[in-house]
Symmetry: C2
Amino acid sequence: MPLHLIRKLESFTRLSVLDRQALESITVEKQRRLGAREDIICEGDRPSHINLILDGWACRYKQLEDGRRQIISFFLPGDLCDSHVYVLQAMDHSIGTLTPVTFAEMSRESLIQITNRQPRIMQALWWDTLVSASIQREWTVNLGQRSATERVGHLLCELFVRLRTVGLTEGDGCLLPVTQADLADAMGLSTVHINRTLQELRGAGLIVLKGRHLTVPDLKALQVASLFNPNYLHLDHVGRHLDAGAVAES
Amino acid sequence: MPLHLIRKLESFTRLSVLDRQALESITVEKQRRLGAREDIICEGDRPSHINLILDGWACRYKQLEDGRRQIISFFLPGDLCDSHVYVLQAMDHSIGTLTPVTFAEMSRESLIQITNRQPRIMQALWWDTLVSASIQREWTVNLGQRSATERVGHLLCELFVRLRTVGLTEGDGCLLPVTQADLADAMGLSTVHINRTLQELRGAGLIVLKGRHLTVPDLKALQVASLFNPNYLHLDHVGRHLDAGAVAES
DNA sequence: CGTCTCGTTGACAATGATCAATTCATGTGG
DNA sequence: CCACATGAATTGATCATTGTCAACGAGACG
């Protein structure tokens, strides 16, 4: 399995062979596998590991006392669950799987070791952390300002671009392995309205969504309709100028 | 002026006299003052400084092409605007004042110097960064799941507790120097509805809000009504166990 | 074949938005 | 001190988006 994390970090900077080997060594450390709808970490836990999603989709979520659930963010293959929470005492939210998930548990120590030895990895992981924060801010805008149609369209744009970054799209299509109820909990809408919103997007020819497969025939059009500006994903290869001794590779 | 930042960090860990002096030296470095409704940093800028709010309120915000504005977070005295953005190429959002604001511009270099010399400050700033991220997540929950009344109540709880942490409350009261339009842009509601929501909270005896002064006669009651759980602010003095050679001070 | 989850549909209710005044507070210039 | 301008808060009336409830259909699986 190609490491999606490497693919993602290389959209920021170029990694040397050593960098890649270091990152690959992480995934061997300790792999775990969970089924769909299981918790990786629960609110109140004190996490001891940093988790890297290797395969499948997971999410951060919070449950209110009366049962309402908000999905706070999606974790796709290549995403790190929490790089630095160990400073805090306890998780203020939970992390759970949406599909069956394979992930690697990295100890804090080995991560520190690797980043100390490979400063470029440190910088790339910093970039990843900052982009995650930026995505969280964009979600605030999405929930606060956009209509249901714009909101769902925006989410689909974001997921499609993020999946493309880790090499999980094929042409204009990708898998979208979550239920409409999950999308509803993420977008703060009811499942019924998610359903109607998806139909609207279908009707406008902006998406094709059947089973678990999404096609975006005209990404630009969907972006315009959803007021999606990809700048917040910071995929502009900023770090490439740091490129020093890296071998040019395909 | 007492340094609100110090007050805040001490709700996480205990600082030595040296730590405090180091932090105070920051504020001398370069102070700037802006009026209300001015931009500190604009979307697209490449920020060169880290800004510390000394006095007044500011906010992160994003403006959509069609004019809609979302306030993404509030900056209160003692808040750091952006500790680490220098990894990214350009700001994906703007930071602007809501009231007249005094802030200190810290160079990246002097911050690095200080945190290298005073590891406890480094850890405390880490804590601050992580709490900011946690607040952003809670806003996602707030906008996604809570009704208008709960949402506004929740925001007022958060602001009250944060202000109390930096010593800007007096008993059960504090200043709330923003307009209802600002609150509307932050909560994703119309100004008219913010107005009616505030009246509802007033009518329920949960808040007294007159002019720019807010009183919360029964914080616990407001918390319950708003489903506010303060755990996400991580004010539980986790770092106190790190306390080693710090002198006991009043 | 029955059960389960997920997606879909219709009818209706409710929350919050929009529009348009009006009041209130504050500050300014004459 | 008053007339006036300005921005903010408030109100009423109406509209629209989205939620709720309930039912049904389709596919997956033991």
